[in-house]
């Protein structure tokens, strides 16, 4: 599903965010990218949904080379992916429902289908009763789940989650990881970036360890 070949990413002159990264993720896999902050986890995610381009190397996502992709095609790539941002990026001026409906509109779902899909994903993350509430009135864990729900709106082939437990206490973090594993069990490829090694270990899935932009270890 995702193939990275010899990927380098350098910011400015000599800030090496990624060095010679080779990473292959199969369809339906769940992979944890673990490492301290600044190790390059987020950079890998951003390269996958082409928020950035690598300095060198090639990246294939769902069979398409995102490095050589024309800018025009980028929105269409992103519509096949779901991204959960570290800072959630939920809009304050509309309800949970409104936040999710935005995706439906952008991918061009008919209104009725969009509404059904909103109800569906909210049920999946267990927030059906909070549909009419504005996000900032929700707890951190709930906001995180709204963010995940939004990423699932377009039924993505790959779900990318950047520090999905970063702002949560341990108990909620486990809940969120469980939710992500659940989503993976339904067939979606899931990539999770986390600095919490213990959490990654507990999940018991393939984990890639990064340090200073290099893959230093893989488990199992």
């Amino acid at each position: 599903m995702i193939q990275m070949y010899h990927v380098y990413k350098t910011y400015g002159k000599d800030l090496e965010a990624l060095v010679a990264v080779n990473l292959h993720i199969q369809r339906g896999e769940c992979v944890f990218l673990a490492g301290p902050s600044g190790a390059g986890k987020s950079t890998i995610l951003r390269l996958i949904f082409r928020d950035e381009l690598p300095t060198s190397g090639q990246i294939l996502v769902n069979g398409r080379n995102v490095v050589r992709m024309k800018p025009r095609a980028v929105p269409h790539l992103r519509r096949t992916l779901g991204v959960v941002f570290q800072d959630f990026k939920l809009l304050r001026d509309r309800t949970v429902e409104g936040n999710l409906a935005l995706v439906a509109r952008i991918v061009g779902m008919p209104t009725l289908e969009g509404r059904q899909r909103v109800a569906q994903v909210l049920k999946l993350v267990g927030l059906s009763h909070k549909a009419k509430i504005v996000p900032y009135k929700l707890s951190g864990g709930e906001q995180q789940r709204v963010a995940i729900a939004r990423a699932l709106m377009n039924d993505p082939v790959v779900l990318l989650a950047d520090e999905p437990t970063g702002n949560l206490d341990a108990e909620l973090a486990v809940d969120v990881i469980r939710l992500l594993l659940d989503i993976n069990a339904r067939g979606t490829t899931v990539v999770v970036a986390t600095h919490d090694l213990k959490l990654a270990e507990e999940a018991g899935r393939r984990t890639v360890f990064l340090k200073k932009g290099r893959i230093v270890e893989e488990w199992p």
């Binding site: 949904f49 025009r72 269409h76 509109r105």
Partner: protein
Amino acid sequence: MLRKLRQISADAVTNLIRSGWGGLASIATIGVSFLIIGIFLILALQFNALVAEWREQFQLSVFLEDKITPTQLEILEKRIQNEAAIKSVTFITKEQALAGFRRELKGQESLLEGLGDNPLPASLQLKIREGHQSPAALERLSAFLSRHEGVEDIQYGQEWIERMSNAARITKLLGIMIGSVLTLGSALIISNTIRLAVYARAAEIEIMRLIGATKAYIRAPFLVEGMIQGSLGALLALSLLFGTYRLVAPTLMLASPLLSTRTGQGILEPSMVAALVGGGAMIGALGSSLALRRFLKI
């Protein structure tokens, strides 16, 4: 498609309302610019109509000596009728001239009482084709006519027409110059308002971008917002113009019979109204795209 258009317009209107005073200010600025452009347009049109009317009614008077013989008159008339420049000839006798003068002096006819003999000359009034109204052509014509026996004097008010058409030309030129400066200014002001709208929605734009919205999808509402601002500004200016004209025109018409009656009721033709509103929308679109290019990186 229709749903999309509706969505885009709804977004644009929402943005416009959210922009509040900023949006109103840019509409008002465009209104003022278009008001000035409109005033120049109306002035130029009035001048043109006036000049056209004058040109059509333009007459050259050939005053005849009292002692002119019927034969001389006949020869003169024949010569005149053979001139290509002349549209029509009317013979005014001394008596008709006096009667006309009397009409003009209405209320003060007593002035004429001490005159005794009719001092006014008979004349031929020549209407000149529009192509032959240049000062040089008239000069030639009047020189030719004055050589004839029995012709006393030749008069025409050509200078006035030339001055009027010059004034019309200058008005048009000034209008174009001031208009283009104001247009540019309006575009920049709209651009500024849109820039603020882009900033206000930065979070939403960022999310839309990351979710996979196309450039056009993100830009369209802003573009439409600018176009709405532009056309509303133009409409504002037009309603001010028409309103003022309604109020002022009756007194103006009375005060100055010079004012052309031809463009009287409409002042601006429907096509010009449409062009102004369309122009407003285009300036709005221009302003928006300026802002989007500079402030909306996708």
